[in-house]
Symmetry: D3
Subunit: 175 residues, 6 copies
C-alpha cells in the first residue's frame, strides 16, 4: 500500500494540476494534495482559499484529501507518513529544478521517493503564473482553469469597492 503526496503552491489550481491529481489518484492508494503555506511570497489566494478551491476541484475523487503545510517538504512528508512525493514534469527547466529538489529531499528523508508524472501535452506549458498574468490583463482563462476558479480569480483581481457582484450569482449554479 502506497500513500502519495502532491505538494505545490496551487495559486490557483489549474487543469494541469487536476490532470496530475486524477492520474496519481489512480496509481496510489491515497493521495494528499499539500498546499504550501509560503509566507515569504505574496500569493494571489490565501492558503485557505487555495485549499477550498482544490476541495471543490477534487470533490469526486474518493482517495484524495487536501491539506496545507509549511517548512521543509521532506519533514512534511515524514509527518504525513507518505511513501511517495508526486511531481509533474513539464520542461527542461522544470526538470533541473525538480531533480535538485528530489535529490535534496532524498538526503533529508531517505524513506520517501519522488516520482514524476509527465504533464499531459495539452497542459505542457500551463502554469499558475501564466493564468494569473493572463487574467490580470483581462484575457480568457477558461481554457486553463475550471469556471469556478476563473470566477474567483476575476473577483480577486477586481478593484476593491466595486458593487453589484453579478458573477457571484452564477457560482452556485455552475459548480
Amino acid at each position: 500500500m502506497s500513500n502519495a503526496l502532491y505538494p505545490g503552491s496551487f495559486d490557483p489550481v489549474t487543469y494541469g494540476h487536476i490532470d496530475i491529481i486524477k492520474r496519481a489518484a489512480r496509481i496510489f492508494d491515497t493521495l494528499t494534495v499539500g498546499v504550501l503555506n509560503n509566507n515569504v511570497k505574496s500569493p494571489l489566494f490565501s492558503v485557505e482559499e487555495r485549499v477550498k478551491m482544490l476541495q471543490t476541484a477534487c470533490a469526486g475523487i474518493p482517495n484524495v484529501s487536501i491539506s496545507s503545510w509549511q517548512g521543509l517538504l521532506a519533514e512534511y512528508a515524514r509527518q504525513a507518513e507518505v511513501d511517495v512525493i508526486i511531481r509533474g514534469l513539464r520542461a527542461v527547466t522544470d526538470f533541473e529544478y525538480e531533480l535538485q529538489m528530489a535529490q535534496t529531499n532524498k538526503k533529508l528523508n531517505p524513506k520517501v521517493e519522488t516520482v514524476f508524472l509527465t504533464a499531459s501535452l495539452e497542459y505542457a506549458y500551463l502554469s499558475s503564473s501564466v493564468v494569473r498574468e493572463v487574467a490580470a490583463f483581462g484575457g480568457d482563462i477558461g481554457i486553463f482553469v475550471p469556471d469556478f476558479v476563473a470566477r474567483e480569480i476575476y473577483l480577486k483581481l477586481r478593484p476593491e469597492g466595486v458593487s453589484g457582484r453579478a458573477e457571484d450569482k452564477d457560482t452556485d449554479n455552475e459548480q
Copy 2:
C-alpha cells in the same frame, strides 16, 4: 503579405536586437518593433526613451516602425493586425520560456504564429541586462550597443547633479 511584430523590453536596444530586426525586416513585408511598457519592473530607460533609441537605430530600414504596448502580447498582436510574432532564440533556457510563451499566445490568439530566428553567433550570449551590468561597473559596452546608446546609458547611470554633459555634444555628430 505578412506583417510581423518583434516584441521586447529593449532596455536598451543591443546589437543583438538590431541584428534580429534587420533580418526579420528582409523576410516580412512590415515589421513593428513593440516596446513592452511593463510598469511592474523598474527599467533603466522609460518607454519613450527606449522607443526613441530604437527609432534612431532603425532609421535606415524603411519597413520597420517602432511602437509600445502593455497588457497581453496576444491581444496586442490582434490589435496591431500582425500575422507573425518574431522572437530571437539564444540558449536552451530561452528556448523553454519562449516555447511556453508561444504556446500560450497561440491558445489566446490562434491567428498569430510565433516564429523564431536564431541569434547570430557573435550576439548569442548578449542581453540588455548584461549591458546594464557591465556599464554599471564602468566596463566597455561599445562592443554590445551602438555608440549613441552607450552614451545614453552612461548619462543615465551617472550620479545626479553632475554638470558639463560633454558627451551630449557628440551625439548628433556620430549618428
Copy 3:
C-alpha cells in the same frame, strides 16, 4: 515577397509535418516542401513515393509545391531561390541540432534565413520514426498520419507475395 523552403525526409509525412506546412503556407508567399534524397540511409519509402504522399496531403493548399533534392541544403536553397528555410522545433535535442544546422547553413549561404515554428502541442513528440516503429509492430497509427498514408505504410511493411489487397479498395473513397 518571401519564398520559403521546408526541407526534410518525410518518410512518411505525418500530421506534425502537415501542421507545419499549413501554418508556414499562411505566412509566406510560396512554400516549397523539399524531400531529401538521402541515398545513404535506407528509407521506408522512395523519394518518389514520399513526394507523391506529400502532394496528396497538400492538395488543397494553393501556394505549396513539392520537390526533392540532394546534397547541401544551403546550395539547394540557393538554387530554389528561397529566402527562408522553415524548420519545426519540438524538443531541446531538436533545438541543439537545428541551431547547428542553421548556423552552418548561414555560413554557407548568408542570404537565407532559417526560421523556426514550434510544433503544435498535440504533435510535440511525433516523428516519422515513431510512426514507422509503431506500424512495424502492428500498432494503430491512425492518430499520427492521414489514413491514405497509414495504408501505404501497412502495404509497405506487409510480407511480400501477399495477394488480395483489400485495403486498396478503400483508398479512393477516403481521400
Copy 4:
C-alpha cells in the same frame, strides 16, 4: 493495488538498474522487470542470459518477477496488465527521449501511466554501454555491476577457444 513494469534492455543489468528496481518494488505492489528482445541490435548477452542475471540480482525481492518481451511497449503493458511503466531518469538527453516515449505510449495505451524515478546520484551517469565499453578495454567494472555480472561480461568478451575457465570456479562462492 498497482502493478508496475520496468522495461529495458539490461545488457547487462547494472547497479543503477538494481537501485531503481529496489526503490520501485517498495512503492508498487508488484514489479515486472521486462527485458526487451530487440532482434535488430546485436546485444552482448542473449535475452535468456539477461533474464537469468536479473533473476540472480533480484533474488531477495519477493514482489519482483523477470520477464521478456518484444514489439510495442504499450501493447506489452496491456498484456501484462500493469498500471504503471517505470523509467529511470538520468540526464536531459534521457529526459527528452523518455518524454517522447511516455507521450507515445499514452496515445497507444491511455490506461497505463509512465512514472519516472530519478537515478541515485552515484549512478547518475552509469549505463550498460559504458560498462560494456570499459570492460572491452580491460577496465575495472566492479564499481558498476555486481561481481557475478562482471564475471559473465569478461567471459563473454574473452576470445573464443580459450580453455581453463578459472573465473567460473569462483562464481558459486561469491553469489
Copy 5:
C-alpha cells in the same frame, strides 16, 4: 605557471565549493577564492564572515588564498593577474548561465580563460541557497557543510536577543 581565480558568493561555503577548491588547487599553481561583495542582494553572512569561513575551510591548502571583490569579474581578474577563472558546473541551467558569463568575460578581458570543473556527483545538486533554506526550517545541514559552518548558520538564523550561546563554546574545539 598558471594562477587561477574561483569567484562566487559563498554564502556560505559548502562541501561542494570545498571540493572544487581542493581539485583546482591541485591543477593550478595558485588559487585565489574571490568572495563577491554584492551590495544589492541581502546575504545571510557579511563578506568578512564569508571570507573568514573560507579561510578556516581552506586552512590546510598552501597555495589557496581568500579575497573579496566587487564590480566586474573581468576587471577583478585583470587586477588579480590571474590567467584562469574557475567555475563549477552542475546542471544544464548552470551551463547556460555559465556560458553567457564566460563569453561575456572573454569579450571584456580576452586574456583570461574560464575553465569548468564538474561538480562531484555527491554534491551535484548542492547549493548555498538549498543550505540556507534547509537550515531556516530546522533541517539537518551537516551533510552539506562543515560543522563549524553549520554552527555559524544556526547562530545567524536564531532569533535575536537569545542569550546563553552554548554552541559557541564548541566552535574553537572542533575547528
Copy 6:
C-alpha cells in the same frame, strides 16, 4: 606543474580544435593532443594522417605534442602521466555526454581531472562531421579548416583513378 591531454578523433582537425589547443597551451605547462585510434568506426583519415595534420597545424606552439591512443581514456591518461583532460564544450547535448565521460573517467582514474573550455562563439557549432559532410557535397570548407586540411579532404573524397591532380601543385606553396 600541470600536464594536460586533449583527446579526440580529429577527423579532421578544424579551426575549433585549433582554437582549443592554443588556449589550453597557454594555461598548462604541456599539452598532448591525443588522436583516438578507434578501429570500429570507419574514419575519413587514418590515425597517421590525422596526427600529421595536427602536427602541421600546431607547428608553432612549443609545448604541444601530438600522439595517438586506443582503449580507455582513463588508462591512457594514466600512462601519459597527465593531470588534466581537456574538453571543449559547445552545446547542451555535448554537455550531457561530456559530463558522463568525465564522471566515468573520474571513477576509473581519480587522479585525473577533466576541465572544460568553452568553444569560441565563432566555432560554437563546428564539428568534424559537418566539415566532412559539406566537403562531400562540394561546399566551401575554407571557413572551417586550414587550407592544407581542406586540400587533404578534397583529395580524399575525390573518386579514385582521377588524373591531373591540379590541387596538389598548390600544396607546398601555401603551407
